[in-house]
């Protein structure tokens, strides 16, 4: 089936290609402050990066080195560290700092499981609901949509206390389901998919019905493939939000084993105070940031388009 023309509303650029703006020639001088500003964007990231590869003795040196003089991976894992014997210049590397299997790797695994489960789950249930709301003439659909859209005005922190109580009563504190289940029904995802489905002609679905396809089959074989660009845009938002989620996990998680990366980083920060620990802490920050930055760079085009569509078109 030819789906290409139908995806055009999203795959086409949001606006006509721009010609250089007026005054572009004189713009160089006006841009200069912004180029300088970009240095302040780079500098903190660079500071993080060099701290990660400095040995403990170089981290709090005055004046600081701006290129690590003795680059090392000890901040991840220091073979010279021993828990029983003091070895000057050696501290636990990041992966030696938590008494859990695989050390920091455990938190990366947790974050990965949670992020993937929430992304896949929330897209599936939202696409089902969006399909019904836009293409089925069921009574009550306007009211349902109204309620869901209205809920987008609620700051989610309002539900923090009761959700905590519910999780405790269910015995879901400190569990994967405690992370995943409350995060599945995402109003903004439904809202976005509904808008997108409005641009897909009903005839396509009618045709499938005439051919005798069931509703579940139509959803799986026709609606989901048509939604692919919208799902891609949404999945980027969800992945980044869940990978970096902090406040809810902070309340949900008690043991070290069940921490996600942000909670583990916060604990690292409160367990180990002092400049000498910054190498390992920054190593953790790097491992937290690198996947989402790489993910963003790989899908940059979808991402900015998603922001623009969900932000401006709505």
């Amino acid at each position: 089936m030819a789906t290409a023309p139908l995806t055009a509303p999203v795959t086409a650029p949001p606006a006509a290609p721009r010609r250089p703006r007026s005054g572009a020639r004189r713009g160089g001088l006006l841009r200069l402050p912004f180029y300088l500003l970009s240095l302040t964007m780079i500098a903190p990231f660079y500071w993080m990066l060099i701290t990660v590869f400095k040995p403990v003795t170089e981290i709090d040196r005055q004046p600081p080195s701006f290129v690590p003089e003795h680059p090392t991976l000890n901040n991840f894992h220091d073979p010279g560290y021993s828990p029983t014997q003091v070895n000057p210049g050696h501290l636990q590397g990041l992966f030696q700092r938590f008494q859990v299997d695989f050390g920091f790797g455990r938190f990366m695994f947790n974050s990965l499981v949670i992020t993937v489960a929430i992304t896949v789950g929330s897209l599936l249930i939202a696409s089902l609901a969006a399909y019904v709301i836009t293409k089925h003439r069921v009574p009550g659909r306007r009211l349902i949509f109204l309620m869901i859209v209205a809920s987008m005005m609620v700051p989610w922190q309002t539900t923090l206390v009761p959700t905590y109580v519910i999780m405790r009563n269910l015995g879901w504190l400190d569990t994967y389901q405690g992370y995943i289940v409350p995060a599945l029904a995402k109003a903004f995802v439904l809202f976005f998919l509904v808008q997108f489905l409005h641009s897909i002609p009903d005839e396509l679905i009618q045709a499938a019905r005439v051919d005798g396809a069931g509703e579940w089959r139509i959803w799986w074989r026709i609606v989901l493939p048509l939604l692919r660009p919208a799902l891609a845009a949404m999945s980027i938002f969800i992945v980044l939000a869940e990978w970096n989620n902090f406040l809810w996990p902070l309340i949900l998680v008690q043991s070290d084993e069940m921490a996600n990366i942000p909670v583990a980083l916060a604990r690292l920060n409160s367990y180990f105070v002092g400049a000498q620990h910054q190498g390992a802490i920054m190593a953790g920050g790097l491992l937290a940031s690198l996947p989402s930055i790489v993910f963003f760079l790989a899908f940059q085009r979808y991402f900015t388009r998603g922001i623009v569509l969900s932000g401006l078109k709505g």
């Binding site: 964007m41 990231f45 005055q62 089925h136 309340i251 920050g285 401006l312």
Partner: protein, 304 residues
């Protein structure tokens, strides 16, 4: 020709499937949003420590919040100051960046990526990084820069007067790239003919900006400002990671105490869950009022 009974049976079957397909979303929506929300409203009128059953206390929580709680008043004041400063400065810089780097060529694309980078970086990692940059030792990055200009090392995070400026700096630094992306899209949707017409009429570049660009960017500005305000009111990580002391969440003298950190402090450090719910509803009312400004929802409903 189908009989009326068959038609209604058919309808029922089709609607049955429809409701079944709506069910997963609706059940989770009801269970983890509507129900907690209703609960939160109820709890805000109770005294609740999380262990014994909630005791109904009427408007006591709200009375205390508004009239008796100096820390809450302080948190509100800090939050408003922070919100106005960070959204004001952030929006101006977003617009400036969009005007500077809206071109299709690679130098502009690289610049846009650079400014957008913080939006996709782990916020906890960024906050730990800022804490490290503002290390009070001579070797901290901020103090090293101060040293280049002959200044003495500053106790950045222990000086109450610097708390809000540092929070605003972190917020602007982290958020201006996001507004920039929206403004770039807004600029792209302005027809070039308007500028040509303005030039023929002899408009200077400044007049073109003032009379064409700015008015046509109004919807984008509204969106950037309102979503910026909503986001800023919910600030938590920056305070919790960068300024939290050993037994005080808001930094030295509560100089960085804000609404959500105070909610966390009351709810999950002191386990005053009823009181925390009341704080949550104050936040709700603020955000709700802001969202009403946002016309998105009205427009969305028109589409249905």
């Amino acid at each position: 020709m189908a009989t009326p009974a068959a038609v209604s049976r058919h309808r029922w079957r089709r609607h049955g499937t429809s409701y079944l397909m709506l069910l997963p979303f609706l059940a989770l929506f009801a269970g983890f949003l509507v129900w907690p929300l209703a609960n939160s409203l109820y709890l805000s009128f109770t005294k609740f420590d999380g262990v014994t059953a909630p005791q109904f206390a009427g408007l006591e929580n709200f009375r205390r919040l508004l009239f008796d709680d100096d820390r809450f008043r302080h948190a509100l004041g800090n939050t408003f100051l922070y919100v106005v400063a960070s959204v004001g400065i952030g929006t101006l810089l977003s617009l400036g960046l969009a005007l500077a780097f809206s071109g299709p060529g690679w130098p502009h694309r690289v610049m846009r990526t650079v400014f957008f980078l913080p939006s996709v970086t782990s916020s906890i990692a960024l906050m730990l990084l800022w804490k490290w940059i503002f290390n009070p030792g001579d070797f901290g990055l901020a103090n090293t820069v101060v040293g280049w200009f002959g200044g003495r090392a500053v106790e950045w995070l222990a000086t109450p007067g610097l708390t809000i400026p540092i929070l605003v700096l972190m917020s602007v630094w982290g958020g201006m790239g996001y507004g920039m992306v929206l403004y770039v899209a807004g600029l792209g949707s302005i027809p070039q003919e308007y500028y040509e017409a303005a030039r023929i009429d002899g408009a200077t570049p400044w007049q073109q900006f003032r009379r064409v660009t700015l008015p046509l960017l109004r919807p984008v500005t509204t969106y950037v400002v309102v979503t910026g305000l909503i986001g800023a009111f919910q600030v938590f990580e920056a305070v919790y990671i960068v300024f939290r002391g050993t037994n005080n969440i808001g930094g030295v003298l509560d100089s960085g105490l804000m609404i959500v950190p105070y909610l966390y402090d009351q709810g999950f450090t002191h386990f005053k869950l009823g009181y925390a719910s009341a704080i949550a509803w104050v936040l709700f009312l603020i955000i709700f009022a802001l969202s009403m400004v946002n016309l998105r929802i009205g427009r969305a409903l028109k589409e249905l």
